[in-house]
Symmetry: D2
């Protein structure tokens, strides 16, 4: 693990998610750019001292020098955006599979280079767009693909948070620091941090690709250097239209990621904060609520569920599905067999490239006052 | 009443709403352009035959010739859009107050002429933007005006219906006929029929005015002549931004009008389909749910509530509030006294003009491919 | 109308409910035992002074002396429980139909005498168990009768209020005064005021009859003279079991009447505070939500709905359904024709008798410490 | 681990829950009475073959013979009820701490013996009443203890499932087999399996003890040998009253555990299926919704939460809290320091004894036709 010291939020999630299915152990790490934090974190995580490293370079080099069976199997990178590309590239080159936080890189160019490297090396890269790990989301995707709603016409996706309503980044212990700093986060703030999740979710469920958009981006909190609010009108490759909203100044909202997809015959609705329900609304019959863990769910949803109906699963389980599916896929590849479809269902380098393209396109449009539609920037 | 024969939906709502508070009686009407329907409808409504008319002109003329105390007190116009202006103008000229369906007129020019006439005559005109009649909406307005949320930054309003997902207008008994016909409805379909409600609600609650917008409008159902789906990015006069969505092809949605308004300190959320709850989300304290009919509600909300908490009020009651408030205001004016603020709170001719301006602006932007922002068309 | 002066809550509801469908006018009344309040209330209600009476006796006598077509058509009694029987009996004897508040009488004996009188006179008596007026409740009844859930096994019904958590009856303007006074309310407080609604709803939807019960009743608020909380285990005539809860000290609850009925194949759930949704849960398929105003609803539910789906109807509309159905039934009888089933669906004298029997049985059991099951007291 | 082979549901949950916080490893086990299943399960769980045992006796003996630091630290028992007592007693005697499934034992006598043994040995025993592991439940307990609601008057708790609506126990792969078999489950079916959870939750949150009850129990499904439905009126030691419902024939219900607790000033409501929200209703102010992961939550709730607000946690996390708290407490004891209160908050042997007493009392009352109240059987 690169990053994820005891002072970081998302690293702890990664660890819970990775451990829960007993497929993955944490064997080494470089948990902080601060060597003391790295060391103390590593000890807290029960890592032997000789495998707690002070830099990702040291780690990848030393681990790759260990005999097979002893060295780490893959690397997880949970650092700020400007520190995704280098360790990921180096790990791929040294033959490690990679789990990477989103957005995938600091720039689109890096993303493309990473994609090329993945293709060259044949390694597996998983991107932790965790929300596609929820079984109800997988079921939604299945239903759309199955044509249950007819042709899709309209997609409304939004990701509303309120935690940046004030300048919390001035608090040095806040996770907001790097997220609002263009040097560490990249061109985008809110639209990169959570807008990419929204776009990824919309494309994952609908199976469509956004082809152009018209965005309006704003920085509401004085002194902040990156956008903290945005919205975009979307057009998709089948003629569907959409609206995407992402905000971190929607004061009072926790982590309200919601999607609705409407086709000719009906629509679906899913709320991340109540993730075990998938609401279906129909033109000609009563609303239905599909609930995870029930026999009527599809095979992929079932394979990504651990508990029977009524025992709620949450964010860590969704995250865990990405780790488990990644691990199962990596193991299948090692064994020279084709990964099963239910495992080989996690965000990959292509999704990361699309995320960076989205950031490029959204930022271009978001500060454009005259031109209405910006075509997808490839 | 002009329109509202036994074959019409909204006329029946008007009558329930008008009657329920025992302030208003139906004394005459011209209920259909079909004289037989008008006659049979009038009889069903217990109107004496001599006051069932065959045209609005006949009605207004004959009624105005009756002695004061016998003639109708005001006129309600519930016809398709192309038949709003003429009867409203004639009624005002003959000294009658007017209740009018939205959108107010067929064109912006008509709206301005009507506004001028209202100002000239000093009569009262109520526009049935019924959703602002809900007590929870009035409480939301009060809280925003009181500064409870700090400066408003973001408004998300949407009105999603699915009933036009197919070409129901081909069914001659459907209410969709005139709504999808540019000769009877005007320049806009969905954005006029329900987009105006959404804009009105946003401006009512926030106290802000939209100053420019960037819209995308679409006709999804083949053969249809007017838009059945639209979305717009909004900018408001205090610097707030917004998103408005209106759709009649959101298959499976009934009448899902939802608004969220976020300020610096917190946000509010209201769903028309569960209208007795007003959800407040705060940056620094737990979510609250205000419920109509409780002692903690504000005075205007209370004056517009008939039942104690937990006895749900609905659409007809909200509609009834417009009628009751209109009636109380008209009566106060007759008595030469100032209407109380809690009664003088209903949509007026100015709201109708803004609605027609919104249609103009949205239609201009909605079919524009190049220019991004369209300033509000006055 | 007997009772329902400007100082009373439920009288206002009755008037809104009666007026909204334009089938019923208020033509006379004795609105209070205080003649001044009666007079001023009557004037507020636009009643001519000569038909504002000072006692129900005067009213019934004078009205019955008026020529047919001029005199009132029926009488509505909205007084405290101890004043139900006399005016109802007198009205029936003089040939008037009756609408009566629940619980029907002060005692079971009175209830039986009233039932006998109704049978003798052939008049129509409607009891305002308003909650059975909701279309979703009627649809629930239809589904159970249709066998959609298989044989019914379990019924859970509860009516939770919090407004009597303190001794509000000490406030002379409170509606709690007579409700907590055994001289005006009868043997029961909470169990009579709202427990009867719960039992009525359970029997209405399920089509079953309670045959025995085991209750525990309590007065939590010191100084109060009647029960303010109760619960009972129920047994029904088909072998189903149930639980009924009624409380007026469930602090913070508004008017939370909720019922669940489970059969062999699935169950239904309905919440009075969100009355437009009927939730169906199934053993072998996803949950469904039926919503009032949609084409898939049954005929009786449709006949009791005024608005299309998504335009919420509430308590007053449910109440209005009782008035409208009563009026349609009375008119059909006058015309010598059989009332249509969709109109002839309102609580009748039999329901009132069962309510009084329930009070007798519940009070007997509720204060019994030794004997477990009390058979239904006929 | 004793039990929890690949054919068992709850064992998998225990493992996820135990692993997720990286405090606990699975080092040995006897996973099934079928040695082949035990072996193959153990291999799936990455256990070395020499520590996959064929009986709990073998396991406890051999493990206790291993040097400290190598042998297992504690034992988890996830077998059917009739196999709880023996391994737990033997483990305690051999100096191991114990995690045990509920209900704690087959009989009350066993429970008392186990309690005595725990007291004698000073070992730690955790009982997996998982629902008290939810942070919102812990917050509810804190609020009640803090007097936020005033004196508690009324507790309504219910646990509704529908999965035993048919005779699923006839399917040999079903988990229903031992649960409906008095030889393996004990005196009670539904009331033991889930009724004990409901009682435990009520006593945990309220801090009260049930002192007597009046129950009605039933077996609705023909051929079944144990109760599948029950309800009880409850009385608590402070004078509060309550209702408990537990059903496994509430067709269509998944795992609907819901509790409401009302005091003099307000009440709380919690639904296990939406576990991140704690609903507070007040007599004199708007409803509040507390959400896990927010800064306003109390310390114990916070210590039992892994994610920030809006990232839902579920059943496995609640379960994981029991394991983590148990592990932290055991480690603190080993280190000779007092466990922190936030860790030392998990169900213990005393809760297990109360659960068995509840089963005794409920079964005694549930089949009693004459006597109303049964005092708590100690």
């Amino acid at each position: 693990m690169v990053g994820g010291g005891s002072d970081a939020f998302i690293g702890a999630i990664h660890r819970c998610a990775a451990f829960m299915d007993n497929q993955i152990e944490l064997v080494c790490g470089c948990f902080s750019i601060n060597p003391e934090i790295s060391l103390s974190s590593g000890k807290d995580y029960f890592i032997p001292e000789n495998r707690i490293y002070t830099s990702f370079k040291e780690m990848i080099e030393k681990e790759s020098a260990l005999p097979e069976g002893e060295r780490m199997d893959f690397i997880t990178i949970v650092t700020p955006n400007m520190l995704h590309f280098e360790p990921a590239m180096m790990a791929l080159e040294k033959g490690f599979d990679v789990v990477l936080e989103k957005p995938m890189t600091f720039s689109l160019d890096e993303a493309k280079a990473l994609q090329k490297k993945v293709e060259e090396t044949g390694r597996t890269l998983a991107l932790t767009h965790a929300y596609t790990g929820y079984p109800a989301v997988k079921e939604a995707k299945r239903m759309v693909a199955n044509g249950d709603f007819g042709k899709i016409r309209k997609i409304c996706v939004e990701y509303m948070q309120g935690w940046l309503s004030n300048r919390v980044e001035l608090n040095p212990t806040s996770n907001a620091g790097w997220r609002t700093d263009p040097k560490r986060s990249g061109k985008a703030g809110c639209i990169g941090d959570i807008g990419t999740h929204a776009l990824n979710l919309a494309e994952y469920i609908s199976g469509l690709k956004c082809t152009s958009l018209c965005a309006d981006m704003e920085t509401f909190v004085p002194g902040r250097m990156l956008d903290d609010d945005g919205a975009a009108l979307l057009r998709f490759d089948n003629g569907a239209k959409g609206v995407l909203m992402a905000s971190q100044i929607a004061a009072g909202e926790e982590n309200n990621l919601t999607i609705r997809v409407y086709g000719e015959k009906g629509g679906l609705e899913w709320h991340q904060q109540e993730p075990n329900s998938l609401i279906l609304k129909w033109s000609d019959k009563p609303m239905e609520v599909y609930r995870t863990g029930n026999p009527y769910m599809g095979d992929i949803a079932k394979a990504n569920t651990r508990t029977p109906g009524g025992h709620p699963e949450g964010y860590i389980e969704a995250f865990g599905n990405i780790y488990r599916n990644f691990a199962k896929t990596v193991m299948a590849k090692r064994d020279g067999i084709a990964p099963k479809p239910e495992w080989n269902d996690f965000p990959k380098v292509e999704d990361g490239v699309r995320g960076m393209q989205f950031i490029e396109t959204a930022v271009t449009s978001g500060y454009e006052e005259d031109k209405k539609w910006i075509n997808w920037i490839n």
